[in-house]
Amino acid sequence: MKVRLKIWRQPNAAAPGRFETYDTPDLNPNMSFLEMLDVVNEDLTARGQEPVAFDHDCREGICGTCSLVINGKPHGPHRGVATCQTYMRSFKDGDTIVVEPFRARPFPVIKDLIVSRKAFDKIMQAGGFISVRTGAAPDANSLPVPKPAADEAMDAAACIGCGACVAACKNASAMLFVSAKVSQFALLPQGQPERERRVLRMVQAMDEAGFGACTVTGSCEAVCPKNISLDFIARLNREYARALLKGG
């Protein structure tokens, strides 16, 4: 199979970008989408052109490095997978595929398809942790955690921090990302001592980084490669209200 790509090229954050069109060499439908880009890049390099810069690392949907908006959808056509887990068999011979970077004000483009997601680290530094010193921990089984709570905390903790939720949101809201971390800790007994402080600080950091408000359209959940549920946003709202009441 062959496809035509319209890829966003942008030399750096300051320079303007535009779409370039590339016709791929012959492809195997079992290739991953990123392997297809590898092939295109090999081809560009061989022809003396600069390859397309794109982010990737684990290529198995866990590191959260790959991004890309494919035909208007962050992480491409399928639910519950990242770009690196998208395969060419999802497209048809002769298709035109539009490939863009994640677009959101807090995620400036660095080059071509690569954006900066430093804003997420900032939010985590504001409160995405339990303050426990190394060596100060009690025996692991001294604190039983009911299985349903542990399982739900794990559902939230599965977030890979890719930022697709932000890219999908018309307001560039980071609520799904923040709610996942807040919920994980709020559900666990270990997270209780800093429960109010954490949510207030993370929400404040999120606002300061320029992420927009959540209007619960659910577009974030629809593109999340880990199927993080919108219910966690509801929980975040409750946690936030509760913390305000308690005065953090």
Binding site: D57, R89, D121
Partner: protein
């Protein structure tokens, strides 16, 4: 040069306690006068940076990733070992120690491994306190599973995402310290050289991957936690960007490289399917808890629908050959067994390079729901990649490069022969001997970072005068920076015709064929001719587009591949000199009639540590004898 392992005297079980008492301490008020560079934020680097920050040192942390949370540790699936004995099934610190020593085919240091087993229990406590959502039983207590090479259940896990959860725990600790101002985090920053002043590691040279800017950083000590070097083989289960540059360039500054030929080939990966393939995907070893491995008994059945092959025509070869460990035989042994049946022509799948991992019995016994609960995400990954449903037809798996036991040589304090240079996690050679057991890398990374380096680095720093660390205008920094710039310019100026990737692929092929699952003298000698020739061609005809003053992924890759060429040669050299088979290092000339690895304890019960001698001279092979005071070296048997 004499390699000093600095193993404390006294009975094995008391060495670490005694040593901790004897180590010099840095007084709390003085700690903030010391600067420590930590390169890497995987399990080892993040845990070390966070803990050193907590202690009061001024820490600078460097990663090439866009965020510390993306280190390759994130991809670990199966679990982490700890000698908690929560299952009451006979586990103990001693048993974990013994299993690890034996699993490593008696090629690791007793004292290091014992310490690892001791602190394993603290790691799980620490992670739980950080909010790591480990799997739990209905009573609310922690659940365990079994991993290869062990007959007890001591592996803690968080679904199939244990590495992710442990790393996010360590990353959260790091975030806390960054917020507190004790750790300064440098992302998109690649270390390209180590700076050695008067024989001691005192800084690094870094390239900003976005702007291309080169910068110098000095410190009282340098910690490398930069991961393993399995991507030498090109195709592996590693993240695409994992690389050897930090440790390789440190080696070229005088740090010895321990056992470079010890690589782990993991038995359960999704087989290679096409020429374009960019990476191999692991199917966690935990699957072997419930999955049964088999191939057809008859060659002519290999292309048939596996479900149509009757029970009596299947060869469950691991259960047949290793009845007491069965499908949980260690990785090196399982991988070689898979290779043998495929060599016999009984491999399955299109390429004939595959064996079945079958869950039909488990589904019958436990129900599909339970199997889904345990391994659902792995079945999903398998489905995405192969488009096959493993609940219905058995998975096809084949061995793939997965881990490197070798790495920079370190003493008991995790310090290299270069004073001031500490090496943690997969980047060092220390604890796994010639073969690593499953769920032990996560344990080692966190042991090194949370519980070993915080003590041992103090002993080194206590001997350094506060404020004595050299400034970055020292000639050694200038020289190192010029070296880095020189390499970059050479790569960009070659302006040849071949892409970096094509070289990497060819090198990987040479390594897989001659220095992979089975090695022999002729093959290794052949590789030692092929690699230098290919390297020559690389420097003449590599094509690296773009500029140095910009984000340039081709340039990043080119620098890494340039280092692989040299490292690959050292691996082959080491494999050639080690005239025995042990663990993951299988020399075809040295085997028992049944095909099991034949060690030579008389001549090779030692660590080989290679010292660089410059570009035109062969490296020198130093030897650190392995002394076994506690355990008896036996022929490893899992039968």
């Amino acid at each position: 040069m004499k390699l000093q392992s600095n193993i404390p005297s006294g009975p094995l079980a008391q060495k670490w306690d005694k040593h901790r008492f004897e180590l010099k301490l840095v007084n709390p008020a003085n700690k903030r006068k010391y600067e420590v560079i930590v390169v890497g934020a995987g399990l080892a680097g993040a845990s070390a940076a966070a803990t050193l920050g907590e202690l009061g040192y001024r820490v600078k942390n460097f990663v090439y990733h866009d965020s510390p949370r993306r280190a390759h540790s994130i991809a670990a699936q199966g679990g982490i070992n700890a000698a908690k004995n929560y299952q009451n099934d006979g586990d103990s610190v001693y048993r974990l120690f013994y299993d690890t020593i034996k699993g490593g085919d008696f090629r690791a240091r007793e004292a290091n491994v014992y310490r690892l087993a001791q602190v394993s229990v603290n790691i799980v406590d620490q992670c739980v306190a950080q909010g790591v959502p480990f799997a739990r039983e209905y009573g609310g207590l922690l659940d365990n599973r079994s991993f290869g090479g062990a007959q007890v259940s001591r592996t803690f896990y968080a679904r199939g995402q244990t590495g992710q959860q442990l790393l996010l725990g360590a990353y959260s600790a790091l975030c806390k310290e960054i917020a507190a101002g004790s750790v300064q985090s440098f992302t998109h920053s690649e270390m390209l050289d180590l700076v050695v002043v008067d024989g001691q590691a005192k800084g690094i040279i870094v390239r900003d991957l976005i702007t291309g800017k080169i910068s110098r950083h000095s410190a009282d000590a340098v910690v490398l936690a930069t991961g393993g070097y399995g991507n030498v083989f090109n195709l592996s289960t590693y993240a695409r960007n994992s690389n050897a540059t930090a440790i390789w360039r440190a080696y070229k500054r005088g740090a010895c490289f321990g056992n470079p030929c010890y690589t782990q080939i993991h038995p359960t990966c999704i087989p290679v399917s096409g020429d374009y393939q960019s990476k191999l995907t692991l199917m966690s070893e935990s699957l072997r808890n419930d999955g049964r491995i088999w191939v057809p008994k008859k060659k002519e059945d290999c292309r048939k629908d596996p479900n149509s092959i009757p029970e009596e025509d299947r060869d469950y070869y691991l259960e047949r050959l290793y009845p007491s460990f069965g499908n949980l035989a260690p990785r090196d042994i399982s991988s070689r067994a898979a290779k043998r049946v495929c060599d016999e022509g009984r491999g399955v799948g299109e390429s004939g390079l595959g064996v079945y991992l079958d869950f039909a019995d488990a589904i019958k016994r436990l129900g599909e729901q339970k199997v889904r609960e345990r391994y659902g995400n792995l079945f999903d990954i398998y489905h995405e990649i192969t488009n096959e449903n493993a609940y219905r037809t058995p998975m096809r798996i084949f061995p793939a490069v997965h881990y490197t036991m070798g790495g920079l040589w370190v003493d008991y304090n995790l310090m290299s022969n270069l004073p001031g240079l500490f090496v943690l996690g997969e980047a060092n050679f220390s604890d796994h001997g010639a073969n690593r057991l499953g769920a032990s890398a996560l344990m080692q990374g966190l042991a090194d970072g949370y519980f070993v380096i915080p003590y041992t680095i103090g002993n080194y720093l206590a001997a350094q005068k506060p404020g004595s660390c050299p400034k970055t205008d020292h000639p050694a920094f200038k020289e190192a920076e010029e070296n880095v710039v020189g390499i970059i310019r050479r790569l960009l100026q070659a302006r040849g015709k071949r892409t970096v990737h094509s070289f990497h692929k060819e090198l990987g092929r040479i390594m897989w064929d001659h220095c992979g699952m089975a090695r022999n003298e002729a093959g290794l000698k052949r590789a030692l001719e092929l690699i230098p020739a290919l390297r020559e061609e690389f420097w003449h005809s590599v094509n690296v587009p773009g500029s140095e003053a910009d984000l340039n992924q081709s340039l990043e890759r080119a620098g890494r591949v340039a280092d692989y060429f040299e490292l690959a040669e050292l691996m082959c050299r080491d494999a050639l000199e080690r005239r025995e088979s042990c663990g993951g290092h299988f020399r075809e000339e040295f085997q028992f009639p049944d095909g099991e690895a034949k060690r030579d304890d008389e001549n090779f019960a030692h660590v080989a540590a290679w010292e660089y001698q410059g570009p035109d001279k062969p490296p020198v092979r130093h030897v650190e004898p392995l002394v076994y005071e506690e355990v008896k070296m036996t022929t490893r048997s899992y039968k």
